[in-house]
């Protein structure tokens, strides 16, 4: 059977046209997807810029009141915390007594009242970081080592530290027993009584920095000694070491390392973590 020429050519051209149409439609679909994707990307970027702007434009503590800003701050802060902060404060933010890095989740603050503003100031300027504005009033003195500085007899001549340490080893242990007592932990009664007396003495003057009720003074970075929260460890030996050898903990200033947005985000994130994820 012979097929007419015009019919043969029409039958052979149909699949080719279908393939061509399929390619064109695929191309249009890709263009469509790229356009939608690009639009979404632009929108996401602009949205992020808006959040970043609002995060900084708000006063520090107001920023933490906005759930959207808190989420945004967490998304910015998490990788920064992991990179710069976790080495001392731990990935879980619960601190490290070995380096005296405080737990950031317990709501207990050495400096300030734990507001976003105070947290931000500490991140900006650090603690004992050797710069202006850093939090630096005094160290915890080394009472087992700290002697009395005196000029040996002749005014005007070079002085030396004389007179031995402010506290001997037994006295330091007595103070430790007193600390255990006021934190409702097992203690030795007689030693604790001696420790309480020593804590009131002018030469040791615990209460000058830690307040008359020993509940701490955040202006000095002097911790509350009555709530059993210890940045440098709370075992009797840890407490002994803190009194005997003193403490001089520092935190670097991040003002020249991180951007203002990153610092604000960290402050909001840490503030949120210290309030159980809320503000």
């Amino acid at each position: 059977v012979s097929i007419p020429t015009e019919l043969r050519s029409a039958a052979g051209a149909r699949p080719a046209r279908r393939r061509g149409r399929f390619h064109r439609e695929t191309l249009f679909a890709v263009v469509l997807l790229v356009a939608i994707g690009g639009g979404l990307a632009v929108r996401a970027r602009l949205h992020r810029e808006q959040l970043a702007y609002r995060l900084l434009a708000e006063l520090p503590d107001a920023a933490a009141q906005d759930p959207g800003l808190r989420r945004f701050a967490a998304s910015v802060a998490k990788p920064i915390f992991a990179e710069h902060c976790a080495a001392c404060h731990g990935v879980d933010m619960r601190g490290n007594p070995a380096v005296g890095a405080p737990d950031l989740t317990d709501g207990v603050w050495l400096w300030g009242d734990g507001s976003v503003y105070d947290i931000e100031r500490i991140i900006l300027y650090g603690v004992r970081a050797g710069i202006s504005n850093t939090r630096d009033v005094d160290d915890m003195p080394a009472y087992g080592l700290k002697g009395t500085f005196a000029y040996q007899g002749v005014p005007g001549f070079e002085g030396r530290i004389v007179g031995g340490a402010a506290l001997d080893s037994g006295e330091v242990w007595a103070l430790v027993q007193y600390l255990l007592k006021i934190n409702h932990r097992p203690y030795q009664g007689e030693a604790a009584s001696i420790g309480e007396r020593l804590s009131r003495q002018g030469s040791t003057s615990c209460r000058d920095c830690h307040a008359p009720d020993l509940k701490g003074v955040s202006d000095y970075g002097a911790p509350n000694l009555t709530i059993n929260v210890w940045n440098n460890g709370g075992t009797p030996q840890d407490l002994y070491n803190s009194i005997y050898f003193g403490r001089h903990r520092m935190m670097p200033a991040w003002q020249d390392v991180l951007t203002l947005e990153q610092i604000r985000a960290l402050a909001v994130y840490i503030h949120s973590a210290s309030h159980g994820g809320r503000s």
Partner: protein, 305 residues
């Protein structure tokens, strides 16, 4: 366009293209024109209270300064108080910028000192956080034991036979020397100082202090020549005659406590202080080492540092 028209492939292509473009533009536009978008021409960036010639006054610093100045929480301060503080901060920023324009860090000694001290303090801050252990302190003490030598003290008599018209003495040096030798002999034999002094005409030089003196004070009073001899004497010892410009001296050491290296427990407080200071100096030197490593320093021929 009818549903039948959409079945036409060419029309369908155009329709899909239009839909895609419109959808993409719409999504972008929702971001662009949202009501709370960041201002395109913001004079002061967020996080700052003011810009002074392009330099920012941090909002955090402004809050801190306002609270310090007014002794009130920032939320309780008035607009007038905030304005006053901000004005002060802007003024200060202007002065700082002027100081830099005048190159004060290069020309004003106080500014240079303050800057150098600030850099030292920054370098020292991390090392001061290091907690010295007892072992570290003891190792430092062992390495620097000589530093922990206590001051010696001495209580002595400095007797002198004046010569050559000094204080109206008419004897010659050789006569005085001979008398001094005899006086020393008698003193060493147990004769009292008063008896020997009266017999040979020895008088107190007036150089020694009253009672026991620390070594550095005795050195000031006696002078180097006599002190060098006195510091090697022990309690009860009588020196040989010592020829000096004003006559012949004889030293009688009544009580001598020689300097001694303090044991570690006694010296620990000073060791602790010195140890920390050493760390600070070490950090400062290391910092300078880095700075020098990155600096180009040219010294004029004939000079060295």
């Amino acid at each position: 366009m009818s549903a039948r028209g959409l079945l036409n492939p060419s029309r369908r292509r155009i329709a899909l293209s239009v839909v895609g473009v419109v959808l993409g533009l719409a999504l972008a536009a929702t971001g662009l024109f949202q009501r709370r978008g960041p201002p395109r021409q913001t004079a002061v960036p967020p996080g700052y209270a003011a810009l002074v010639n392009g330099r920012g006054v941090l909002m955090s610093d402004f809050i801190s300064e306002t609270q310090t100045e007014t002794e009130k929480p920032f939320g309780e301060t008035t607009a007038a108080e905030r304005a006053r503080v901000l004005r002060q901060m802007i003024d200060e920023e202007l002065l700082v910028q002027r100081a830099l324009a005048l190159d004060l860090p290069e020309t004003a000694t106080e500014v240079r000192t303050a800057l150098a001290d600030a850099v030292d303090a920054q370098a020292a801050a991390p090392v001061l956080a290091e907690q010295p252990t007892e072992a570290a302190l003891f190792a430092y003490y062992q390495k620097h034991r000589a530093r922990y030598e206590s001051y010696g003290s001495m209580q002595l008599r400095d007797l002198v036979l004046h010569v050559g018209g000094f204080q109206n003495a008419d004897q010659t040096f050789s006569q005085a020397d001979a008398d001094a030798i005899e006086a020393v002999y008698q003193l060493r034999s147990g004769a009292s100082v008063e008896h020997v002094a009266e017999h040979f005409g020895l008088v107190d030089s007036g150089r020694e202090g009253r009672g026991a003196e620390l070594d550095f004070a005795a050195k000031l009073h006696l002078g180097s020549q006599l002190y060098e001899i006195a510091q090697r004497m022990s309690t009860g010892q009588v020196s040989d005659p010592i020829a000096a410009s004003d006559g012949v001296h004889v030293l009688v050491m009544e009580v001598r406590r020689a300097p001694a290296v303090e044991d570690f427990p006694t010296a620990r407080a000073q060791v602790y202080s010195d140890y920390r200071q050493a760390l600070v100096r070490q950090a400062e030197r290391a910092n300078l080492g880095i700075l020098r490593g990155h600096a180009q320093i040219l010294v004029t021929p004939g000079l060295s540092e």
